[in-house]
Amino acid sequence: MLEFRTRGYQGYAVKYSPFFDNRIAVAASANYGLVGNGRLYILELTPQGIQALKSYPTQDALYDVTHSEAHSFHVLTSSGDGSLRLYDSSLAPEFPIATFQEHSREAFSCSWNLTSKATFASSSWDGSVKIWNPERQQSLLTLPTHSCTYSTQWNPHTDGMLSAVCSDSHLRVWDLRTPASASNHLTMQIPIHSAPFSGGVGKLQPTFPPSEALTHDWNKYRSTIVATAGVDRIIRTFDIRQPKGPLQMLQGHGYAVRKVAWSPHLPDLLLSASYDMTCRVWTDGGDHGGQARELGSMGRHTEFATGVDWCLFGSEGWAASCGWDERVCVWDVRSFMHQ
């Protein structure tokens, strides 16, 4: 396990670079993101441990970070003042090369388009998801969600399909290939709290009250599978071909789940980070009806674990996590799996 301290700043998000196997971006904020500055760290894994290659101060708290899929040195952040900032870590100056300011409230997530690579999306407390092109100051499209939207993600398989989860306990899926209409490209609106799909007929179905959804991620191998999680501590998987209810429910976290991330190497494996200070690794059983269960837990963080991400390169299973304990941990998931 390797560690780096983001002294004075509490981590909110961590992302491995899709271009370099040793580069990690971390979004962090002073005063737990409540008030004050933020800081973007570009970290490098070296034989001497983790070194800060660059760090960029920002006016307001940072909540999310993503790497450009088109340019290996570009990193995008989303901030408490609603702005999105694009940095080029190959250049000297300490300020962003572009700023995108339209959200009227905290921008909680940003995600780069994984298929066309020319656009990115952001989501905000102002109840909207916006789609942008880095070469234009104005957003290309605004998709209303009407409630605080904590997370937006592009589908990694289908160009023009993106999704978001909101505080209203719904997973929304947009398909930008649909014609412009009153529905704003919204093709699906799945209640996350609905009863599980495979409950069986005649059995008493448990019911779940709606609760805020904080994070979600598309499976990297099974193009219709999404995992969601949030305040009710349950990680659910959905198949958008069968939007009636969740396929699997993974329970175990003691507090709200802040982040889920599917493995880039295995189709059934996902990582989660939670307010209960642990990161956990889970299998959803895969497509062939295996058992969905927790495989292991990493408890090194001493405060809320807020971000976790898989390394895309090298031997399968390396991950980075960050938290309010001002620590970035780089660890091998396999060493935390139950035997």
Binding site: L34, V35, G80, Y255, Y275
Partner: protein, 434 residues
């Protein structure tokens, strides 16, 4: 875990964070957001979760009723139940400005109408301006029929059977109240002890229950008098004006025999000058040593009520104002002779389903079939009296059997909206024990 929680509390409330804060409101909002992620106990979780707004909530966007008038002598005495329903549905269409073509089903609760009134009510919906594509059913769960109608529609919306529906209730006790409402019991029923109890008249069994459960006449009269006084106060303050939609009907003056067209806009059962002492003088109706009399039981009346329900997402799409949402409903059977204890059994079940405690509830709208059973239920449940029926109840303005449930829904939502309160419960006891 406890450590984590303490840590966040320390962090969240650290003076450093707040003192250096340039925009205190923003920081405060972020702080309460993070706190809400952590939640507290499961109870407080579910309280906030039933207050959450979600697109698949079933919501009420319009609720109204006719005034209630006294059975046999009020201004509605010559108006058929179906006409009252038609006028109420018409008022609902006008007030909500909903396109009638979008309404897929209307459920109407009624108790006394022969054949359940199913034929008349379908005709009434057509006469009110609904197209033939709007389906209509009538249903009978005795006194709770109107409430059951609203619940049925909410469930149909939840299950995806319909998108928009109306729960309603109507009763013309002037024309349909009487011994004809129940057929003779067969030997099979008569010879079964509990079954035979189903036809014991309400007044008689309530008298028995008051005796068995030691509900004193003084308590009953005090409760009834307060119902009258609350209703009078509410009427004078105009608090019923929002839920009451006036209707114009034909009325034959019993003295002159003259036919008149009158517009009715006020409950005629509400009257001034009623105190526990004045009620104390009335002779008991069902037993010489009894405690129940005309002044502390619900009035025989005529009236109709209707509630428009749909999903929140539909309401937002159509620009309908959301009055509140339907969370959970329950129904529980009790012994026929103890039908008055129904709310005591059913309210905790509904609260359990919604995951809230009785203290979380701001207003209870509990039907006052008899002061005896209402007082007993309120006391046994330990509800504070000021939360129960803040605008009075059936003792003061009447209980047109099938209509009252829908009336309670409309009264409850109107009062919650007016007072800015959040959570309401409505319940009623049901003849034959439910």
């Amino acid at each position: 875990m406890a450590q984590g929680k303490r840590a966040v509390q320390e962090r969240l409330y650290s003076p450093r964070a707040l003192l250096t804060c340039p925009a205190p409101n923003k920081a405060q909002e972020r702080l309460s957001q993070v706190s809400s992620h952590l939640g507290g106990s499961p109870e407080s979780d579910s309280k906030s979760s039933i207050l959450n707004k979600s697109p698949d909530d079933v919501v009420v966007t319009c609720a109204l009723r006719t005034p209630f008038t006294k059975g046999g002598k009020g201004l509605f005495k010559d108006t058929a139940a179906a006409d009252l329903l038609a006028l109420t549905l018409k008022n609902l269409l006008e007030r909500s400005r909903i396109d009638p073509n979008l309404v897929e089903d209307i459920a109407t609760g009624c108790v006394l109408a022969p054949g359940g009134g199913a034929t008349e009510y379908r005709a009434a919906a057509l006469a009110a301006g609904f197209p033939v594509t709007t389906a209509v059913k009538s249903l009978n769960r005795q006194c709770s029929s109107g409430l059951q109608a609203c619940v049925d529609i909410a469930n149909a919306i939840k299950a995806g059977m319909i998108d928009i529906g109306i729960g309603s209730g109507v009763e013309s006790m002037s024309s349909q109240y009487g011994p004809g409402a129940v057929t003779e019991f067969s030997d099979l029923l008569e010879n079964h002890l509990e079954a035979a109890n189903c036809k014991v008249p309400m007044g008689v069994l309530s008298e028995q229950m008051a005796k068995d459960r030691h509900i004193s006449r003084a308590d009953q009269d005090a409760f009834a008098a307060s119902s009258y006084q609350k209703a009078l106060k509410a009427q004078q303050a105009g608090l019923f004006d929002e839920e009451i939609a006036p209707v114009t009907v034909q009325y034959t003056d019993p003295k002159t025999g003259e036919d008149k067209t009158v517009t009715v806009s006020k409950d005629d059962g509400v009257r001034p000058g009623i105190t526990a002492e004045s009620l104390g003088k009335i002779r008991a109706a069902f037993a010489k040593d009894g405690s129940i009399h005309a002044g502390n039981a619900s009035q025989v009346s005529d009236g109709a009520a209707a509630v428009l329900l749909m999903k929140r997402s539909t309401a937002e799409r159509l620009g309908q104002p959301v009055l509140g949402k339907f969370v959970a409903a329950s129904v529980v059977g009790v012994p026929p002779l103890l039908m008055g204890i129904g709310p005591w059994k059913a309210i905790p079940v509904a609260l359990g389903k919604a995951g809230v405690s009785k203290d979380d509830v701001d207003i209870y709208e509990i039907n006052e079939a008899f002061a005896s059973q209402a007082v007993w239920c309120v006391k046994e449940l330990g509800l504070p009296l000021e939360k129960v029926n803040p605008k009075g109840g059936a003792i003061a303005f009447g209980h047109p059997l099938g209509c009252t449930g829908a009336r309670q829904v409309s009264t409850l939502f109107t009062e919650l909206k007016r007072t800015g309160k959040k959570i309401g419960v409505t319940s009623m006891c049901v003849g034959t024990g439910m």
